[in-house]
Symmetry: D2
Subunit: 336 residues, 4 copies
């Protein structure tokens, strides 16, 4: 942490800041410049957030953190890229991975039909929600354990590894027993009780960035899982909230190269939720490949007109096959 | 829901939309204008979100919801204002209420000293966190049940009703047994598992708006609690995330009169978390009274320099007394 | 500027950064810590923006500016508060000032009637637009010079000083010859050609913050005017653009105490444009007083139903009188 | 415009709204539903913005616009895609176009060297700024007419068509006499005086979306140019302002397919300004091709370390050649 004093700060004020830094267990390194004094606070024996208080001390202009607040998620702590295996499918390696399936599991027929489409299109992982976080208490909330059982049956029939969301810490063990990867949804990105709990799971975690979450906060949420003992975290950009209303959210594709620079964890993109409309899913999927993501997760439904959730952004089979063709063409061009 | 067709939409496309509306259980009311056709979808027998799919049908330009998605939280469902009692203190009535205390409970001495300051200043409710949702896994996470016990002891010694946060559905019963009001923090505003759980509690709930939560979504989250059976919900504006970085968040004081127009529930303001700096807490508290809020919740600490959490935005005792003087003066002027 | 090296930065990389800093005319002050090296770049002989390039050099993690980029607008350059006189009315002193009038000048009758309402209510300055920046080319664009002449006549009849917007550098001399204060609208906050031009005017300037302008950028735009020679700038918060759509913009009242801490210039609030609805104008005006603004600028129209622009947010006469009563009561309480 | 009445609206209130609609020159089409009455306002004889006032009438819940506010920019007014020629280079047709060059023109040597790099890399259009809108009055403001002369000389030597920014209406004729395309920068997107002026120019206009501009507003600004008589407008997405600070702005690549659905005008992407760092320019350029843009505009500098403006986001020659290779590979894959 660097503490910048005001240009008019007095010697007594500077002295007081130095004493305070040392009283909370840090070492102070003042550096007196022509225009103002800057004081470094060095140490690691207590929570860094404590130092933020310095902004309340007389004569202090502002504080600026130097070190990144995450450690295990950082490239500095891990050489090379982490490859996370979902069932037998590696994510974060040379091959682009597509996860696809319906927003919500509605019946065995619906999920099985979806899985065959997913497989026919050449995608590698099946998605499907059994616990659905919905803005309205009057909307369908998911089939819960019955949905998980269907997911398990379809996995057995199709050999597709599966990913499904968990929303309550109490359900983590249950979901883990049925699925190959646990998804933490955007609305739970700072549900720290849930993050700690999946940090103790043995299955990998797909961590979706929240609509309001900075890239640094996303990495701090990953840090919760990593520091609880689970090293298998995949980050997912799925759109952030901005003033623009033409799309449901604004897909932040720049986050992919930014994250690739900061962390060794795999990064995938969910174009369906950001767009909110199937028309934009195909071009955004192509862009996700081109920008350097490790994979995408998209919504496919055998009959979107009848979907209980997110029909507007779900792809029909033939459009999904077109998406897969496009994705393969761009992925190939990336290796030119 | 209104469905607006494109100006070039064909009769066949219009017919198809009408048939689809009826296939999902609604009645269609088309209205053919000179420039374009508009189709109303009326009914209440299935989840409204289903209708959003219409945007994917050929010839449809957009859909527009007509009815508000919340019912119990709406002024239309409840005459007059709801007054929520926290212990013996009514919130939402004629008197402005101040809730104050430290961010985190650190020890019995610290909380007791805080409570005496709160009481001496003339505030009515004591706040203090035992479960702390922190961005970093390496920050202090709260004293948990030990903190709740301290909160209970201090309540008994000072007769101040208390409010404290709960972050995990599994802890709701525990927290309810110690505190007079349960707080749902900004990061859990769409933690629907937690909302449903406090919807079954018998204590009132202080529901903080999330940093990226629209006013409509805030009311939908309240709806989760109300529809689970708990009618005692207090809404709290605490700052939203914007591009501005001079304050930690942007306190959206317009939300107070907007909410007062839409809902019968009490509305309070938390100026401490939005500002992130004690210097702004006093003017923003005055503004909260003037804009018509029912109360505020502020952070006070006997010794902010030593606070384990949020010291920079905590008020020292003398500044808190000044805040209380200012708040009383503005509250009196409001009744001019 | 401080340049923070990566923890793995090599001595050669550090050397290269130091050489580069000196090649662009700054002095380098390296400080080697345990975890990483930090290099200060000190000097004032060239544009600071040049230093930002350091982020592209190998081994550099990030750069952080130390000094504020504005000088004349800063409290450090000017003792006490600047009081700007508009005609005979001082803004920035002990008295709260209300500027009011119609959005657009429509006719002499309309403006004169408005002015009598403004005067009867006790407001001190008349507003009215002759050049209207409108989102649509098909909307009324203002009466232009004819409107200015009306403004001048009404000023003579009522002795109210006037403020009106200027949108084109070529019109600055013209507008200055008719009005007591020139307004720069939110959409022109970074129209630097216009800022430089009003910086050469002898009339004061009301500078409205843009919908996406940070507080620092607002002060930089003020710096354009101040550094061109015009010391009489009044800053105006008028709402920023956020994800929330319940109000047209989000009025950032925290900006008032933040600006009061950073600058000596007066700060006023425009609650009409942010709210977009007259219902919210009165509570937000009260809040503007309570938060410490020097004044407000509000839209009043003798007959909002017939207004050619912004009728929805204009106050009818009786509501304006209520606003003035409320504002006076809060302003009085502020001096308690 | 649709006007939605409150569920409790009385017959008298409904009657009053109908009368008001007709008093401002529209026809009212009421439709009484079970839950509430909806009133359509149809007509085209006066500014639509007037109707917004209806929200202030008693009993009205909200108003909703039906028609898009832009006409000439809309797909409904123009069959097929508009192809804009810049010099001899068509934009908006089958071929992806790259515009490249330095942020600011610094000297003839610098621009000529840049142009040779641009040409060698295979880009088609040369960019370079003579009038630079800078946040700080103390930053380099451009070489102005001297810069335009250099631009003209370099065009003659290299046969590359050129694009350069204009910031003041008074300079439009001058800039038009030297350059092949006029650029309107993000900060001037709602500088309507400037838009009208370039609407009378005979050269095409590159219109950059503002940091705060919705897609609808961008199209309204294009409408200003089109309705003034200039049909040759190219839209440019260059990043919007969000809460995320890891990149300078958030590049909204979804805007490309959204715009392609709404308008017949060409759409290009500027990845340099959004990213603020050359490291992200290459992946974002690839993504711009993949998402379906008609071209990109990027910053290239023979020696970014010495650039007077935006050095951090400028590409060195060898990186620019790599970008061109990548862009060609993705563009080819798009035609698979």
């Amino acid at each position: 942490m660097i503490i910048i004093m005001k240009s008019q700060a007095t010697d007594t004020q500077i002295e007081k800041v130095i004493n305070w830094i040392e009283s909370v267990g840090y070492k102070a390194h003042p550096s007196r410049g022509v225009e103002r004094t800057i004081i470094g606070a060095v140490g690691d024996n207590r929570d860094k957030a404590v130092l933020k208080y310095a902004e309340s001390l007389p004569g202090v202009e502002k504080t600026m953190p130097i070190l990144k607040p995450y450690k295990l998620a950082s490239r500095e702590s891990h050489e090379g890229n982490t490859i996370v295996s979902v069932g037998s499918i590696p994510i974060g390696g040379p091959d682009f991975v597509v996860m696809a399936g319906p927003c919500a599991i509605e019946s065995e027929e619906q999920l099985l039909e979806s899985a065959y489409i997913v497989k026919k299109g050449g995608a590698q992982i099946l998605r499907g929600g059994a616990f659905k976080p919905r803005t309205s208490p009057y909307s369908f909330q998911g089939m819960e354990e019955d949905g998980l059982k269907i997911l398990d049956q379809v996995r057995q029939k199709t050999s597709l590894p599966t990913v499904t969301e968990v929303v309550n810490p109490i359900d983590v063990d249950l979901v883990e027993s049925y699925a190959d990867m646990l998804q933490i949804g955007a609305r739970n990105i700072q549900n720290f009780a849930l993050l700690k709990k999946v940090g103790h799971a043995r299955k990998p975690v797909l961590l979706k960035r929240g609509m309001m979450t900075t890239i640094e906060e996303l990495l701090m949420s990953a840090e919760y899982i990593l520091s609880s003992g689970n090293p298998n975290v995949i980050l997912c950009e799925r759109g952030i909230r901005t003033f623009e209303t033409a799309t449901r959210n604004t897909l932040d594709l720049s986050a992919v190269p930014v994250l690739k620079g900061l962390t060794h964890l795999p990064v995938v993109v969910d174009p369906s939720h950001a767009a909110g409309n199937w028309r934009f899913v195909i071009p955004l999927s192509r862009a996700a490949v081109a920008v350097g993501a490790d994979g995408i997760i998209v919504e496919v439904h055998p009959d979107p007109e009848k979907a209980v959730s997110d029909g507007a952004q779900s792809l029909k089979p033939e459009r999904f096959y077109q998406l897969m063709d496009d994705v393969r063409a761009i992925a190939k061009a990336m290796k030119h």
